[in-house]
Amino acid sequence: MSRLGLATAAAAVALFAAAGTIRADSQDYELVERGRYVAVAADCVACHSVPGGKPYAGGVRLDTPFGALVAPNITPDRETGIGAWTEDDLRRALHEGIGRGGKRLYPAMPYPAYTKMTDEDVRALWAYLTTLEPVNNAVDVNQLPFPFDIRLSMAGWNLLNFEPGRFRPDPRKTEEWNRGAYLVEALGHCGTCHTPKTALGADEDDRALEGANLQAWYAPAITTDTRTGIGGWSKEQLVAYLKTGANHATIASGPMAEEIRNSSSKMTDADLAAMATYLLDQPPPGGEAPARLAADDGRMRAGGAIYQDSCAACHGGDGAGQTHLFPTLAGSGVVQADDPATLIRLVLEGSRGVATDARPTAPAMPPLGWRLSDEQVAAVVTYIRNAWDNAARPVSAADVGKVRRAVAAR
């Protein structure tokens, strides 16, 4: 037998072995593959894995306003994962927020969004999860203080805040629009970060996607407001952002960088276009822009000097930045957000953009918190928010101190 023949035979054996494994784990390759895509679009890995750890083996700590929760192990390990679960257990967890054995889940698990998932997607996701390698990793999920550690309290919460039910397409809209709505509202659960929360931690439904503060980041508005939202972006620009992490104006960083790396950069172009179609078709939320600060305001003067010396080299005297390298500040939603937490944080500790296959550079911004006092950060941030055609409420040194302490505590 020739050498080539040997190699071919070896490859064939390997192929057989691989095919055998798949058959053993699941009935249906297409279903598993669809489930894998559902898991990507739902970004399960974001919470259910630690960076550098085994995927889906649990372990990310979520700091909620009520205390800490740790995402559980969802590999099919019988002892520490969901190996003892059935497909119906998963369905009930996603659709009703009730785990195996009637255990109430906390809405840090976004079941208020996943309740809209179709039965087919749940079935596919279950098929995929069963093919994962079981990892024995016990996770202490519930680290909430009393009384929030009592899971039954979630029954009352659900009564007040939770509306179970599958996604209902709008027959007046196109199929693409409805696919986008499903991805945004159900799988993508964009509102989990981007929708403001009530005192009870539930979505403020009448302010959907208007921006929210969590884990010392402000997830900016993704409404069609042209000042604070993404109303000025075209469909192509929004798709480019979700696919590559960067577009004409900005580069994703912070938790959105993780989302893009794990989830939206791996979604199909058609799905991203559907999400953009839906998001950009929403009516703008209204509300008036605050009056711009006068150029001779003391904060604008000091902030302008700091900007010229510390920021303009990259972001430009005109705030235009440089596409794919330095984000545009003029007209930016993050810059003009009502809550300046993200902007302050970027100035204090710098930032690194996301690296994707399409844009692997991941440009970074150096921290300035060592160089600027709280007053100086407040001045430069106030300046950026009111320079060019920007308009947003001024930022105080106390605002900066709050973010500085929150970042230092992490």
Binding site: D297, A302, Q308, D309, W370, A379
Partner: protein, 254 residues
């Protein structure tokens, strides 16, 4: 013209083909790699900024040594229509604070000997730390003055007398008692005075960026794209230091 021996490989051809092979190997090894920006070091909030020197009294010098150094730097950089004096720019403070750190005790240098004179091109071969050199040099200078200038210390001399003495020291023509010669002591303090005058104000000298304003140095600016094409025009921006500049402070009111 064809080669008489088609299969004969000359030495030159052999070397060339070997080199080509190596290049090909290297290229094939590099081809499959994608470099991601996230592989480069970056940590949120990570910075290793210089510490602003503490204000207040001398940290290394005795009061008398401080007086002597101030008197010397005031003559090395006298106040004139270009700038304030080296003393008023903080050069003595700069030297004192530098001597308090690893420069002063040579803790980052090999100091175990053997110590040999060496050639001038081999640089400083002394077993003395800069702190010791200042202590010996300043003491020798003051003693020399008291011995030869009717009992006056260096600080009691007229500016002309100081300049004459410093000029002689520069020529190594003053007999100093102790292990530090007048010439090497002069070059040490001249070097440190210039460093203090031109270094960032965060280190104690160059007060209010006085030397940078004098020579038109723009300081810690990062980028000049807005000005690159403005030929034959004066650069308009003031210098900026690591600690910022005066305009960063909020004006009174509002």
């Amino acid at each position: 013209m064809s080669s008489p021996h088609p299969f004969h490989t000359s030495r030159r051809q052999f070397l060339a083909s070997t080199a080509m092979g190596l290049v090909a190997l290297a290229a094939s090894g590099a081809k499959a790699r994608t470099l991601f920006g996230t592989g480069l070091p970056w940590d949120a909030g990570a910075a290793d900024p210089p510490e602003r020197v503490p204000p207040g009294p001398w940290t290394v010098f005795t009061p008398r040594e401080g007086e002597l150094v101030e008197a010397i730097v005031e003559r090395l950089i006298p106040a004139d229509d270009l700038s304030v004096s080296g003393k008023d720019a903080g050069c003595a403070v700069f030297i004192d604070r530098q001597l308090a750190g690893h420069y002063g005790d040579s803790s980052r240098l090999y100091m175990q000997g053997p110590f040999q004179p060496g050639l001038p091109t081999q640089g400083d071969q002394s077993d003395l730390t800069p702190v010791a050199k200042y202590r010996h040099g300043l003491k020798a200078l003051d003693e020399h003055c008291r011995r030869t200038m009717e009992g006056k210390g260096f600080t009691d001399l007229t500016p002309e007398q100081k300049d004459a003495l410093l000029t002689d020291m520069e020529k190594d023509a003053v007999a100093f008692d102790g292990p530090v010669g007048s010439g090497s002591f002069f070059s040490l303090i001249l070097q440190n005075t210039m460093e203090g005058f031109f270094a960032d104000p965060i280190y104690g000298g160059n007060r209010d960026m006085v030397s940078w304003r004098m020579i038109g140095f723009p300081g810690t600016r990062y980028d000049y794209r807005d000005h690159v094409l403005k030929h034959n025009q004066t650069y308009p921006l003031p210098p900026v230091a690591i600690g910022g500049r005066g305009d960063w402070a909020m004006a009174t009111g509002r």
